[in-house]
């Protein structure tokens, strides 16, 4: 270990919203600047464990553990490295979070794609897809099932409680590890928290990935994983060899923040951000209704930051958005990016309403309507 006396930083103070100042003590700053344990800064881990126990009351809590990761996506990436041998199967919803598909494209496992409805993965399709995989004669086995149960990226849908129980039961039947990716769990607009897969995990088969990116900071790169110790151990060993430990200063700052807030302060902050994103959603729906009625279809999201739009009279949105969108002053992500088979055309688009003002949304949707009209005309001149 390098001698921290030679590190040039002596003191650190941060100002929080509302003007309150947090000054890191000498010991705390020192901890923030030195190597730490690979599974996370201990006071922070203990704090997170208390929160997870409180929110989820995991049925096998005594046999669970929690580690801090460099953003929740790094945890997911290392979980896939740990679980998937070539030939193994992984179950994903279709459409699926595009960066997750990107991770899979390098490992090239066999993908079991399961179509979704307004609650996410369909259990009947899941069941038949797994049967097909098992009887395919492959040497690989279905190992894991990935989903985003709240405000799914890209569809924005929430999976209901009954549906979650059905999916859990199927995972039990086929002995799958469930990768519960839940970065939007705090961004729910109805004060209704659906029970997590972790909270129903009687077998110890859930790896739950939490994130501070939408709630406290994305740039600090802090997430955490809860689950069975033997699986967390696999991820921790990989962490040890790569980043050595999650960024210490980031962990120390979030720990100090959560301590300063207490449970009440945390609840208030969540309430404030939900209020903000709910207003953003409402403005977005207003903009959609104003300019895209009859042109697109959409489901109103109950949380999160995305709306999943379907263009009624186009078979594919990719060329329109990637080649002509910027000139038309509106950029959304083409739906094809999220489809397991990205060669097939997709009439869908994902819009994020997190960072645009209501005025920009109105203008953007007006631009989008014009862009779609032009594209429809362009398509009809070709046919």
């Amino acid at each position: 270990m390098p001698n921290p006396e030679k590190f040039p930083f002596r003191e650190m103070t941060v100002t929080l919203e509302g003007g309150k100042k947090l000054t890191l003590s000498k010991e705390t700053l020192s901890a923030g600047l030195q190597y730490g344990p690979s599974h996370g800064y201990l006071p922070f881990r203990n704090q997170l464990k208390r929160m997870v126990e409180q929110w989820h009351a995991p049925p096998r809590w005594a046999e669970s553990d929690l580690i801090v990761t460099v953003g929740n996506q790094d945890g997911i990436s290392k979980a896939l490295d740990m679980l998937l041998d070539p030939e193994d199967f992984i179950v994903v919803p279709d459409p699926c979070y595009s960066d997750f598909l990107c991770m899979l494209s390098s490992l090239a496992p066999q993908i079991v794609a399961v179509s979704v409805d307004d609650q996410g993965m369909r259990p009947d399709i899941l069941q038949s897809a797994l049967e097909k995989a098992i009887s395919s004669g492959s040497t690989g086995i279905p190992k894991a099932l990935y989903l985003v149960p709240n405000s799914c990226n890209p569809t924005g849908t929430n999976m209901g409680e009954e549906r979650r129980q059905e999916i859990y039961a199927i995972a039990q039947q086929y002995d799958l590890i469930i990768l519960e990716d839940d970065p939007y769990c705090f961004l729910q607009f109805n004060d209704k928290y659906l029970p997590s897969f972790l909270s129903m995990d009687v077998d110890g088969r859930v790896l739950r990935f939490d994130s501070f990116s939408k709630v406290v900071s994305s740039g600090l790169r802090i997430g955490f994983v809860t689950g069975p110790p033997p699986l967390l151990q696999g991820i921790t060993l990989h962490m040890q060899a790569s980043c050595i430990c999650p960024p210490m200063l980031s962990q120390v700052l979030i720990h100090e923040l959560l301590t300063s807030w207490g449970d009440e302060g945390f609840k208030k902050h969540i309430s404030d951000i939900c209020q903000f994103y709910k207003e953003q959603r409402d403005a977005m729906i207003q903009a959609l209704k104003t300019h895209l009625t009859g042109i697109c279809e959409w489901i109103v999201p109950e949380g999160g930051i995305f709306v999943w739009l379907k263009v009624l009279h186009l078979s594919d949105t990719s060329a329109m958005l990637l080649e002509r969108g910027a000139k038309g002053d509106i950029v959304l992500v083409p739906g094809r990016e999220f489809m397991v088979d990205s060669t097939k055309p997709s009439p869908y688009m994902r819009a994020a309403y997190s960072c645009v003002t209501p005025e920009e949304m109105m203008k953007g949707m007006e631009n989008l309507a014009k862009l779609i009209q032009k594209e429809i005309e362009l398509q009809s001149t070709h046919t």
Binding site: K6, G32, N153, R221, I244, P246
Partner: protein
């Protein structure tokens, strides 16, 4: 050089994340563009507004609200642009890589994460790896899951012995292995300065010989150099890095701030041929996304405040401290551990 030869199938499979690539559209777009493609959270909702860091020399780094947003929001995978520029300038100044235009530099979450991703980019299970012996345990931990066939190269008080390296590689004919992809060594790992664990440094002539051999056998040289800034002696007498002699564009160099600024911030940087650095970026894009932003901003602001003069004044002070530590350690060792052959390093034969 043909770089695809060095890549594993997994690395070759990597594709850019379209959403990350789409943020590049912002750079060229008109101010009228309504960008709704990124999944960024709204940074105004992050609870930290501003900050201040006092340095040990009494000066302060101020994180005003706009800079705090840079600390808290997602950033580009290759690194916080001001820091990347500063590090590129520093690297060019210190090493003048002969093929700089064909190289790139990225910030990583500690230099070991860069090293881990570089090895994962090139090593498949059972592959050969040429390493110094003894070798840094962190590197061995990265490699362990791949069960590589090690070619351990012994050394003496001047580090890795070129003769031993030649001998280890002699079972292959250089002209036969240049383009061969399987069952031949393709990677050489070395700590050129203050090697972990032996503490020895390679003098210039050895580096040149090792480079020449690596060139003959078409090996990528992984130059892991976390102690570069705390080498003892005058900076102008530092032996040239492998990067500085890299006429073939075969060196990937790993630098670290862990020994001089902070280990806990997790900031290091990788310099290497563009096609290989790009593969590391693609891996980072789908895993940690980027090195911690606040850490990068702090290092950047500190380097800006210090300028070159301040930076080297600091590294000189750190070096002087560790020199005193070393002398005290040697004194203690002399006093309690002296005896025939107890801490001499055997010469290469």
């Amino acid at each position: 050089m043909k770089y695809s030869r060095f890549l594993t199938q997994v690395s070759r499979n990597r594709q850019p994340s379209l959403i990350r690539e789409m943020t590049n559209l912002l750079a060229q777009a008109s101010p009228e563009l309504v960008f709704m493609a990124g999944g960024l959270p709204n940074a105004q909702m992050f609870p930290f507004q501003a900050g201040s860091i006092t340095l040990k020399d009494g000066r302060a780094l101020t994180i005003h609200p706009k800079l705090m947003m840079d600390c808290l929001q997602y950033g580009p995978t290759p690194g916080y642009p001001p820091l990347v520029k500063q590090l590129k300038d520093l690297t060019q100044q210190l090493h003048s890589p002969p093929r700089w235009a064909e190289m790139d530099l990225i910030v990583t979450a500690g230099s070991q994460d860069g090293l881990c991703k570089a090895l994962e980019m090139m090593i498949s299970p059972g592959d050969y790896v040429v390493t110094q012996e003894p070798c840094y345990t962190g590197t061995l931990s990265i490699l362990k899951p791949y069960k590589p066939r090690y070619l351990p190269i012994s050394g003496d008080q001047n580090g890795m012995c070129p003769e031993a390296l030649k001998a280890a590689l002699s079972k292959w004919k250089p002209e036969e292995v240049q383009d061969t992809e399987k069952d031949v060594p393709k990677v050489l790992y070395v700590n050129p300065n203050a090697c972990n664990p032996t503490g020895v440094s390679l003098p210039e002539d050895r580096r040149q010989e090792i480079y020449k051999i690596a060139s003959e056998y078409n090996l990528i040289i992984l130059e892991d150099d976390p102690y570069y800034f705390v080498q003892f002696g005058d900076r102008k007498d530092f032996p040239p890095s492998f990067l500085s002699m890299d006429v073939d564009c075969r060196v990937i160099r790993f630098d670290s701030f862990s020994k001089i600024l902070s280990s806990g911030l997790r900031i290091g940087y990788v310099t290497g041929p563009k096609p290989l650095v790009e593969r590391i970026v693609l891996h980072a894009q789908v895993s940690l996304l980027h090195a911690p932003a606040m850490s990068q901003v702090l290092v950047s602001e500190l380097l800006k405040l210090w300028g070159d003069e301040g930076f080297f004044k600091h590294t000189d002070a750190v070096q002087a401290f560790y020199l005193d530590q070393r002398n005290a350690m040697l004194e203690a060792a002399e006093k309690h551990l002296s005896g025939p052959d107890l801490f001499t390093v055997p010469l290469c034969h």
